[in-house]
Symmetry: D3
Subunit: 301 residues, 6 copies
């Protein structure tokens, strides 16, 4: 095997890194890798899944006698791991400011404590999602099959965890948790999205739900539905404005069929039905039914 001039490649890659760091006004002397770890969060989410559903997602040989021991031990490990990741995120996001390390650590501890306390509520919401899927899919045989097999339910476990982290000031952890589900299911829900109880996505591949979307209770989506932004709001000088409401509001009991695209801060009224592949950029009244046919059947000009 011949030489590959590794020395020269190493040198040229170093040069490329320096260019990048200079362009980003970064020191060439970083203190180490500071970003939260995808691998660590993968383990944490696996542990949380077991703690939330011990007899179904926990270890195969778990017995009722020891269920709480398992839950307590697993939770403890998950929360400790989460604290470490939370500190990494808070230090990363605060590195422009002169922040006190002890203050950051206390903030991470408090966030994770609040997160832990909300797990029972998350479990109840997920139970409602499981029931919704079971009741909405004629092919479902049992609630257990739904919990174990449906990618839409997997995506919601991740989302309800990620949404809570997002609300506690840990948007990067939330994002990584969401992307883990995205990679496995093809369902892309931004952790900022607010989603009510009893939510069901059938098939799910290709669903996209944006950061400021608000979804009511008992809503049902099919694959490849988009709840997106129409265009990015800009301020007077044309800069993107972050955080403004720019995704749809979907009220209770709405059904949206495969491939439909809803864009912008529009409202789909309670009980509305949106047909497949339909493109919606205006409000839809409660109870209305919108289909491609209805749009095309508008009189010719």
């Amino acid at each position: 095997m011949q030489s590959f001039d590794v020395d020269e490649i190493v040198r040229a890659l170093r040069e490329a890194r320096h260019e990048w760091r200079d362009s980003q006004n970064r020191s060439r002397e970083p203190r180490g890798r500071e970003f939260p770890s995808r691998e660590a969060l993968t383990e944490i989410v696996e542990a949380l899944k077991g703690a939330l559903f011990p007899m179904r997602l926990g270890p195969p040989d778990l017995r009722h006698e020891s269920e709480d021991f398992y839950v307590g031990h697993t939770l403890d490990a998950a929360l400790i791991g989460l604290v470490l990741q939370a500190r990494l995120e808070l230090r990363y996001s605060g590195r422009q400011q002169a922040l006190d390390e002890a203050a950051i650590d206390a903030q991470a501890d408090a966030a994770v404590k609040a997160f832990g306390a909300s797990l029972p509520q998350i479990r109840r919401l997920l139970d409602s999602d499981v029931l919704a899927a079971y009741q909405g899919d004629p092919a479902a045989r049992s609630v257990d099959e739904v919990l174990l097999c449906y990618p839409g339910v997997l995506a919601m476990i991740h989302h309800r965890v990620a949404h809570r982290l997002y609300g506690l000031g840990l948007p990067l952890l939330a994002r990584i948790v969401a992307e883990l589900a995205h990679g496995q299911t093809g369902i892309d829900i931004h952790p900022g999205a607010t989603i009510g109880a009893g939510f069901f996505m059938d098939h799910g591949t290709g669903v996209v739900i944006g950061e400021t979307a608000v979804i009511g209770e008992r809503v049902r989506l099919y694959q490849a539905v988009t709840l997106g932004a129409k265009r990015f709001p800009t301020d007077a000088e044309g800069h993107l404005q972050k955080g403004l409401p720019r995704h749809p509001v979907v009220e209770d009991d709405v059904v949206i069929y495969a491939g439909a695209t809803i864009l912008g801060r529009v409202t789909l009224g309670q009980g509305a039905t949106i047909g497949g592949n339909v493109w919606v950029t205006d409000d839809v009244p409660a109870g209305a039914s919108v289909t491609q046919a209805s749009l095309q059947n508008r009189p010719c000009p």
Copy 2:
């Protein structure tokens, strides 16, 4: 690191579990985890892939002299593993009834024996799928590249295995096998779907094929095609009726382009062509070609 009140979280999670179990009329004293294992089925499918295609999906150092030893040993381990999973499914599905354990075990054994006997036929069908992909894609360089790289072929290996398990009374195992492929490829084929030889999905991401779909020979699909149900059939009192034919029948030699949606128990006649993004809810005659243009070119009212 401060305390996380793990005791309290454990208590509240236990309460949530009890609520759930009460709502499902389940004993609070389950005997242990009884559902088949995703991890075990992942291993079983890997073993089956090696046994079906030993020189291409088996171990890298396999030699012709020992091909049958490898196939026999691998099959044996896979079938034993499958028996254990089959028993779990049959016990789970039969737990409302007073079933005899020995009878369940015998049923599992018989199902797995029949499954094993059908593997040569599955191999022949998969060979026809590989050939169809090779012949249908100008970018394909060899049949081996197709077998090893094409997600559509991976999805069909899973489907043909899952469909056989489904036919042998093991729908949960079948479902898990199907979801394993769904997670890796974004292709969602219900194990109940009947698919003929020489089936080819190009790109594939987003394809959805429903439980009662029937597909003939030499059919070709592109990405994001849906063969779905128009609406769920309900009985007189409005309850969902399970198992009724509600997905399309696709006859031999049909081609369906990307994003097309075919809904309900309609028939696409032999040799028909369905254009991209088209929405079809009626029968299409043999040999016909349906495109968005053709739909829009219908005279204005």
Copy 3:
């Protein structure tokens, strides 16, 4: 557990393999498994990601003092591994011809040496993609979040590596690298596609980009966009013609919204905007904006 007649299954599977090998005019005595290994390429790509972005995708405890040691060691292992895979591909593709093993090995060495030398350029292109994503997504908080979380960026790391391998005469390695990203992200870019700097795919699931597509600089795509072939070019006798330009040309600064389908060797002129779910099979002038509405607003016949 009863007998499964493993002997008989093994016999019947052998028969099926022999049928296949006969149908493919292959010897029944292959010398061993000769195809490149998906597992080996998975490791190689992981190593390349670390060598390209050591402080962000390398090991968590990397320090600046030892950055170059890490890069050099990791690169060396990756390039050696790549040489072995390149030899496998070249032997495989050349097995019909009477090729000299030493010549194949020298060709593999030379290709990998050229590949290594192009890594700094690949790093610069990827930096431009990261910046484009950061600037184009109001939800992005930092360039590091983009690099670590965005599936579109992951797909581009794979694509820029795969495209280089494709250009160096290693299309199978390139294809496997591309499929690894396809499986994780649902984004399907053929390694042959030419893509300029500053490319951004938002959400990305379901994007398909064909082999002969040519994309300029600063182009932005949303999920489920297809840049495909209208139909396969055939020669006078109806055989598929491989390698002919059959996918779109997308000029600089074009934006294509979710679900749009562009088919055939058409050109989207500089700065054009293509709306969501639109179906385009003709050239679009520079600066033009095409939407479903604009298509439907064409006068009735």
Copy 4:
């Protein structure tokens, strides 16, 4: 690579197995592998070590708040695993008799329940061993160092577990647990040996303690000490008699230096000291000191 005639080797090995099975009067149709598993017991002992000493041999990130959750969860898994191994042993040892499977399972359950109940007592004995090592070795810096580093302590953790299993009618499990320590430390204690509190083996490599040895409290041994049988007791017809007392009795506070060999059912009286490399086959009075010199200084005949 040439052929290795694997078929022929397989045939000849089968013949050798059949010879063996015939010579052992065994059916050629065993039902499967029935012996307890070394791997399973390795895991079980690791878990027991963690449950016995959670903050020192448990997971590195364990916190006081969750100590009991960890202990309970780990114990539960270990005891369940132990039940499965106990059933294997009892079925194996009972396979000549027509035993009721349910009776065997109940016996295994009862043995493991009794084993679990004795763990707190085992912990207290091990604490006394740790203290003895700390007090007896001038090089020891802390009790924690002793627990974590001293092979003699590791051997005693295994022995005290193995001895309890031995007493509960599980001699094979006990033997495997003992051999695991033998392999790691070179210390070979038969699980039948009775050993009092505060036992300390310094260095330890080469120590051998036989099945019927009885050791009092606060005994100290150095490396390569043997407490063995002088000769095997035989009955009138010359058959080995199993289970008869044939190893030494060592009373409280005895010290035995390196390389000493004590053989047969002799008694070393309380507080006796046995010098290095000495060979003892007779009783030694309490308080006596035996050295090579003292033996050689006996008057010439």
Copy 5:
């Protein structure tokens, strides 16, 4: 964390390597690591153990129906792995000479083929060792316990494999196989030693058996027995002479108790008994019994 001057340590270590290579008259440009791999041989020996004793050392779920498939597949992998290691050894040992690579490969193939053919004979010898241990130890409960638990039997599995490799011109592979057992059992048998059927080492730790030792049938040793060389034979100029017989000959039915040391090319006659801790440097007649007492009881001068 401060800087560790890694650059400087790397430089100084390089200097130390160059000194060493110069002192050994080696090129500073080695072609890569060429020594056989301890890890590879560990796997190969594990596979051989399974192939030799499939129902006891093979996989836990093996069934009689598939025993031969397992043996054949496992053997094949082991023999292929062994060929690669044999080539490494032969190239290494032949690197001073101008050897033909193809000739080396053929030699490796032939050696491994002969090794494979001798496995049935090795199995029979090991069966005789297992029986000898069972019959010789009153604590043994079954032949299966002996095979699975006794370190002396483990050492003999390694030795009988290693001795065969040694005889086939692969002394380095043999040595590594022997050292693997030495590390696990504390029993150090040089692969050159010739050992007859029915050999039993009780306890075993500390046994040392030299390269040219010759041991008959039904010999029994206890722990810490040495069969060593008295002094190294040197030639006229005082250089060590390799390969000369310099270790004891032990005839059939000899018993040697713990700690005895037999040095030099002496013969222990058939049926002799050597007591514990005895030091022997002269021939012992057949049937004689040598003890420390008998040596010390020689009349005073």
Copy 6:
């Protein structure tokens, strides 16, 4: 499976832990596990072995071109890992005192920096040990075989690393490194022992070398040699006195045969030879030869 009363066992184990902590005057509220980790040190030593001998103990595919990259990267990871373990030890040993965390960290950094700087010298000493083994053993075929196969050399790699750590104020890390070798080789060298260049232990199992032993250059030992303390020095009140010289001094070129025991602060003069199984508690003059025979041949009284 019946209940195991896990709750009750957990309670009783907690009680046993509290008793222990009370007896040791420890708080019941430890802050977490604080002892250095055996697993971490196992990895660190593996990395150091690779960095010291890259082409022989490093990765199998290492090439000369990248040797320094490998060494630098591996060293960096090992030294970082060592700093973390050093901090754990220093905090543990200082927990009775009110120590400043920053001061501890600086002390750990400095110790590891000094350790790193001494690695080239350690490499040179180990080269001398390898040469000594090669020259002293007629069975050795090459220096590479010695480095890779001889347990005595493995023990010396660990010892020379451990001794340096011991000298830098990290006795616990040193002890763990030493015990790792003890477990693998049966050779027990206290890290405090001072050992000159060219040291060779043949076979080695059972060798024990005490904390204050001092060994010159070119010394050779055989298996089961003990360099121990005669008795523990006590002060006026009978307390053990730690750290006093209490083990032998062995001058240059001494040879000690198997099983010899040298006890107390005696001196074996330059070039002395100690025979097998001999017991020495007095000084031996330079050049003298001591054997059992010579001791026994002393005139009768």
